[in-house]
């Protein structure tokens, strides 16, 4: 068991969850006081000793399922799931494929967890077609099973059945019912996932599966390869992250380095001590609040990156004297107004995509054209107080770079930064012309996930 805990801790560390030696020792100690056949207790004990941040929970759960799913480690006493056959059937083979959905619906309605579990397990054996030894994470198997079960049909029949029980049918009741049904279906999905994972783990061993699982913390998810679910997770992680960052920056502002010596007041005060400057007085530090000008590429490939950067900057807008934002694809438009008038960043982003005029010709990014038009229309307003930040992958679709325009911006502005959401190894490959621009930037940073974005913003303020 202790070996298992150590392997588990290593897998967590591989996913960037910090687990110290002390914490894994605590976890092992905790398990000595624990009834090992009670899986939820094992989970609770491991969680409380090894995890110290709620945003790590998802990774923990994913890996926990792999390392401690029933049947994959030595329990105190081996208990297999009771096979709960619905009445009137002799074995699961008697049930045909269509009926299984009907039976799942019935057990959901009755809240019969055991029977549901065994039905789901039977469905997985039938539909998933698991091939032993294949190094896959199981997503495909889950997809096959759920498709055969036909979740939409299950949903509508469950909905109808619940409807009949209800007497009132006002719209609020409908909505709440809908939510209930969705929760029930999520439960089935999770059971399918768990069951498949259990089978894969017993086939290939926990550590091997953990490697293919690629459990990632939200702040390490790559913006460029995030799917819809990942994006939701990033935005969820963004809120507390920004909150913490703001507290940290505010704290630094208040308690940071003191200003220079206030000579006049020091001498004035020293008169009280007969001319001995016993107490030194300093000027109050004047916080420098940069004026930000953000110029963001919002073409398809880098749109989500721009979205997160903009929402982080606007959430921290107190830290800056002024934030102006521009978005572009092959034409540029100012969107400062849109962001200032709405308090929800998501809504603002939607408005931006409908209202801003960012397409000129073909809707492929053209950095050179955009820079020229930017300088032409707003160049006057760039002063030595402005910090200009470009967001984009510098993939110019083989248009001319016109980097001399950026050089003229650099001469006027306080600083020019560039954030590129691509891994730095890919810069200057294909149509990326990062190096033609980077000579005119104060710094060019790779910014692929929240972690890198956070550290950039912190340096900026």
């Amino acid at each position: 068991m202790i070996k298992r805990v150590i392997e588990f801790a290593e897998a967590l560390r591989r996913s960037n969850v910090p687990v110290s030696l002390l914490e894994s020792m605590d976890a092992s100690r905790a398990l000595t006081a624990c009834d090992l056949s009670d899986r939820s207790a094992v989970r609770a004990y491991l969680f409380t000793t090894m995890i110290k941040d709620q945003s790590h929970q998802k990774v923990f759960d994913q890996l926990f399922e792999v390392f401690f799913s029933p049947g994959t480690y030595d329990h105190g006493d081996e208990r297999s799931l009771p096979e709960m056959l619905p009445d009137k059937y002799w074995s699961f083979d008697d049930i045909d494929d269509l009926q299984i959905r009907e039976l799942i619906k019935e057990s959901l309605l009755r809240g019969d967890e055991f029977q549901l579990q065994s039905l789901v397990s039977s469905a997985v054996s039938r539909f998933a077609g698991i091939e032993p030894g294949r190094p896959v994470g199981g997503v495909y198997y889950a997809f096959k099973t759920l498709r055969q079960l036909d979740m939409d049909l299950l949903k509508s029949s469950l909905f109808d059945a619940r409807m009949e029980e209800m007497d009132s049918t006002d719209s609020l009741g409908m909505k709440l019912l809908n939510r209930d049904v969705n929760l029930a279906l999520d439960k089935v999905r999770k059971m399918v996932d768990d069951d498949i994972r259990r089978r894969i783990v017993s086939d290939r061993g926990a550590t091997a599966v953990a490697r293919t699982l690629r459990a990632t913390l939200p702040e390490d998810i790559d913006f460029m390869h995030a799917n819809a679910e990942d994006l939701r997770e990033i935005s969820r992680a963004l809120v507390p992250l920004v909150h913490k960052l703001a507290t940290r920056l505010g704290h630094r502002r208040r308690h940071g380095h003191r200003g220079s010596l206030d000579f006049r007041r020091t001498i004035r005060r020293s008169i009280a001590n007969g001319g001995v400057p016993a107490e030194l007085i300093y000027h109050k530090p004047v916080p420098s609040k940069p004026e930000l000008v953000i110029v963001a590429d919002i073409s398809g490939s880098v749109a989500s990156f721009a979205r997160f950067t903009l929402s982080m900057v606007y959430a921290l807008s107190e830290q800056f004297s002024k934030v102006r934002s521009f978005v572009f694809i092959d034409e540029i438009d100012e969107v400062t107004q849109i962001f200032e008038s709405s308090d929800q960043i998501e809504e603002a982003m939607k408005l931006v995509s409908t209202k801003a005029k960012v397409v000129w010709l073909d809707g492929h990014s053209d950095y050179g054209r955009v820079m020229e038009s930017f300088v032409e229309r707003w160049g006057e307003q760039i002063t030595n107080k402005s910090t200009v930040i470009f967001l984009g992958d510098a993939r110019n679709n083989y248009h001319p770079s016109r980097s001399h325009v950026l050089a003229s911006v650099r001469l006027k502005a306080r600083a020019v930064y560039w954030l590129n959401p691509e891994p730095s190894a890919y810069w200057d490959s294909g149509d990326s012309i990062m190096s033609q621009y980077s000579v005119y930037c104060d710094s060019v940073d790779e910014c692929r996930n929240l972690r890198q974005l956070e550290s950039f913003v912190e340096r900026l303020v």
């Binding site: 910090p18 110290s20 100690r29 006081a33 609770a44 719209s171 609020l172 939510r179 507390p240 913490k244």
Partner: protein, 292 residues
């Protein structure tokens, strides 16, 4: 571990559950197992979670269930040793020196004025030196500066306080310690390492229903069910302030007092202000849930 079996406060997680339910706090399985473990491993518990999920209440109820005295340290920015640990009562020291005149030698006076008589105990020292059973609650620990956090470390890992003039004070007994945090700031690794972690989220539907039915007399199962699912659906929205457990209870009480048996749209609309405290939140909720 066998030989000091009798010293533990709880014999099993289920006992924690019973004790807490006895004083009106319905714990989840997770809460009881963490509490049980904290007692076994002699470690403090770091409780995090959204506002209004009963973080502070947990410490209070535990104290009540154990019949222990609750010692509370409310943290705020700028809190320091003299407010958290101990302070010398210097006014009294001064009086002592003055009343003495100059008759006795200084070394004697010095050892006199740095004795326990002149020591003002602050919460942490109080908890360490208590002889009766105590529960120590360090509330909103994320409000203290990172430098001050270090003060807590000695107390939390070794259960002792060092006072230069008096030496090291060790705990008479190891108190149960709760730290709560609203997660406005990343706590230091050192502190987190020393604690067990407990995240109190909004309760699951079943548990919240139990809470509602036990705390609000006269609420029927069906009413509780629709109350809890309505509040649950509100919490899924992106609100400035999501309704907490206490607001669920307030709302349930409101509905019961209005003599209602069911939640329908007009009722929900007219009493939404019990659950939500911002105009923009109310508008958003009516738009996305109530309008059809």
């Amino acid at each position: 571990m066998k030989d000091n079996e009798g010293k533990f406060r709880f014999s099993a997680p289920s006992e924690v559950g019973e004790l807490l339910s006895g004083v009106g706090y319905l714990p989840s399985v997770e809460i009881s197992s963490v509490l049980f473990l904290a007692d076994r491993l002699k470690k403090p518990i770091l409780v995090e979670g959204p506002a209004g999920t009963g973080k502070t209440e947990l410490a209070k109820s535990t104290a009540k269930a154990l019949g222990a005295r609750l010692i509370r340290l409310q943290c705020h920015e700028g809190i320091d040793e003299s407010k958290a640990l101990y302070e010398w009562n210097y006014k009294k020291q001064l009086l002592r020196i003055q009343s003495d005149g100059s008759s006795s030698p200084w070394s004697e006076v010095e050892s006199n004025i740095f004795s326990e008589e002149f020591l003002l105990e602050r919460p942490l020292l109080q908890a360490i030196r208590a002889r009766d059973p105590v529960v120590l609650l360090i509330d909103e620990v994320d409000r203290v500066e990172i430098e001050t956090e270090a003060l807590l470390l000695e107390v939390l890992s070794d259960y002792q306080v060092s006072i230069p003039e008096l030496g090291t004070m060790e705990a008479k007994q190891i108190p149960l310690v709760f730290l709560t945090s609203n997660n406005t700031r990343e706590l230091s690794e050192a502190l987190k390492r020393r604690c067990l972690f407990l995240f109190l989220d909004y309760p699951e539907k079943e548990r919240e229903m139990e809470i509602v039915t036990s705390k609000v007399p006269g609420v029927s199962r069906t009413l509780a069910d629709s109350i809890v699912s309505f509040v649950g659906s509100l919490r899924e929205l992106d609100l400035k302030k999501r309704p907490s457990i206490s607001e669920t209870l307030d709302w349930a009480l409101t509905l019961v007092n209005l003599g209602l048996e069911e939640v329908d749209e007009s009722v929900a609309k007219s009493t939404l202000n019990v659950l939500l405290k911002y105009r923009s939140d109310i508008a958003k909720a009516s738009k996305s849930i109530l309008s059809s």
